[in-house]
Symmetry: C2
Subunit: 275 residues, 2 copies
């Protein structure tokens, strides 16, 4: 029972929400974007883990039956921790992305681009190297991609220059490239244009939606396909930016103050009972 | 008694700390950078006000005798609120910056560049317009400048392109330009190169240090010139980045968890008694 909860550091996870809604149209979805503390990708493991737990506990306090971590950095640093702490299934974005890349690759040469945090965690690299070997995996952090996307600069001179700089070492060396940050699908055209259109771009959102469906299994879909939005800060042009990520307009948004909920003890209740 | 407290959303305020130390070499200084929640410049007034109060209360819990808000966005949204809530003097960065610009300008045409938050608050514009009139003030937000500086990209093709794009409307229209964000002084060369070296660039740090000195008045300087650093997250290459802002190496840093302090009630004590 209850909706599926989805959280991200900000608006990027809406690309995941869109795929979930497409794949599971009858499920109710509750989205939380931690826009007050965005970004996570530039921050340390301990900080991201703490923030991710608060985000997940907020969703749990709203009665979600499953939690989807739509943020790559939070998945990289916190997925095991969240699975340990929460009493509902918690799905991350990394394993499905790796799975999808392994299915798509022809030559077995796979690249992954992500935030500094995600790359430094080594999660993508470990999973990929276990399958294709060390010399066939290239990881590269692309720290300016998030601000560029948030500014709506998904094409143009500046973005082309930054893209060429970041992806130079990957060009002609991989046949498949994982877009390891929920912001990056909005740069698909620019990236494809530089890498060549024969390089397969893997957007984990689709694979994650598939994983969520299989986790639900045969359980009948339980909702009316309603989507609700919660944000910890109302960002600049959030309707415009949100619609760009989600692929359709956003109506009502609820503002959530995590500090207040923390003070009221609402973020510390429904953790898993220790065995 | 006690050190002077200085806070910023992240590392940018170190440019202010440096000037304070230069102007008041015998004062002890305690710096807090809210690196876990940086940036503030893209976030809403309510969020920034709440974060700024926590930052100030943290410094107050460490016994500071004065608080310097080294962040322009926090100054823009929260300075009156902080002055109301705290029981020690609170100085912001905006009034000193405006004062310095008015002293430097020759023709009375003044520009200000800042974060989206600071520009949207209208604080700089209101103060400037009251002195030189509406048609002589141009404000422009430069959202990519902060990530560029944090990436160490203070020069080069990308930064030149972004600078030209942002500053086009200011070029040849102002004789004085306020760098209304503590990150921007690191772009001085690039900005001067585009604007022309005859345009006066105002970095508020110096003016703010002067204001702090005059607030202290004749009170004898009370410390040994010690500087302590607290951050809410240890960012990537923080020693390197920090040294760039501060102008000298940073030794020990203490990590501060504001959520924990909030839960322990440490951030709610020493507010000003109501009259």
């Amino acid at each position: 029972m209850g909706p599926i909860g989805v959280f991200d550091s900000g608006m990027g996870g809406l690309t995941v929400l869109r795929e979930l809604h497409r794949r599971l149209p009858a499920e109710d979805l509750l989205y939380f974007g931690d826009t007050a503390r965005v970004p996570y990708g530039t921050k340390g493991a301990r900080t991201v883990r703490e923030f991710a737990l608060q985000d997940a506990l907020f969703l749990r306090s709203r009665g979600v039956k499953m939690i989807v971590v739509a943020c790559n950095t939070a998945s990289a640093f916190a997925i095991d921790y969240l699975q340990e702490q929460l009493d509902v299934p918690v799905l991350g974005v990394i394993k499905p992305g790796v799975q999808a890349a392994l299915e798509k690759t022809v030559g077995g040469n796979i690249g992954v681009i992500a935030t500094r945090g995600t790359v430094s965690s080594n999660r993508y690299q470990e999973l990929l190297i276990a399958e294709v070997g060390k010399d066939r995996v290239i990881a590269k952090e692309c720290p300016l991609f998030v601000p560029l996307v948030e500014e709506g600069m998904t094409s143009g001179n500046v973005t082309d220059l930054v893209t060429a700089d970041y992806l130079q070492s990957l060009k002609n060396n991989v046949d498949t490239l994982i877009l390891g940050c929920t912001h990056y699908p909005l740069l698909k055209e620019t990236i494809a244009n530089f890498m060549g259109y024969d390089v397969k771009l893997v957007d984990s959102a689709e694979a994650l939606a598939e994983a969520a469906a299989s986790e639900l299994g045969n359980k009948k879909e339980s909702g009316n396909g309603e989507i609700s939005f919660c944000l910890s800060d109302i960002p600049w042009k959030f309707r415009e930016v949100g619609a760009r990520f989600l692929g359709k307009p956003i109506d009502a948004v609820e503002t959530v103050n995590l500090n207040e909920l923390e003070r009221e003890g609402i973020l510390s209740i429904p953790r898993k009972e220790k065995a």
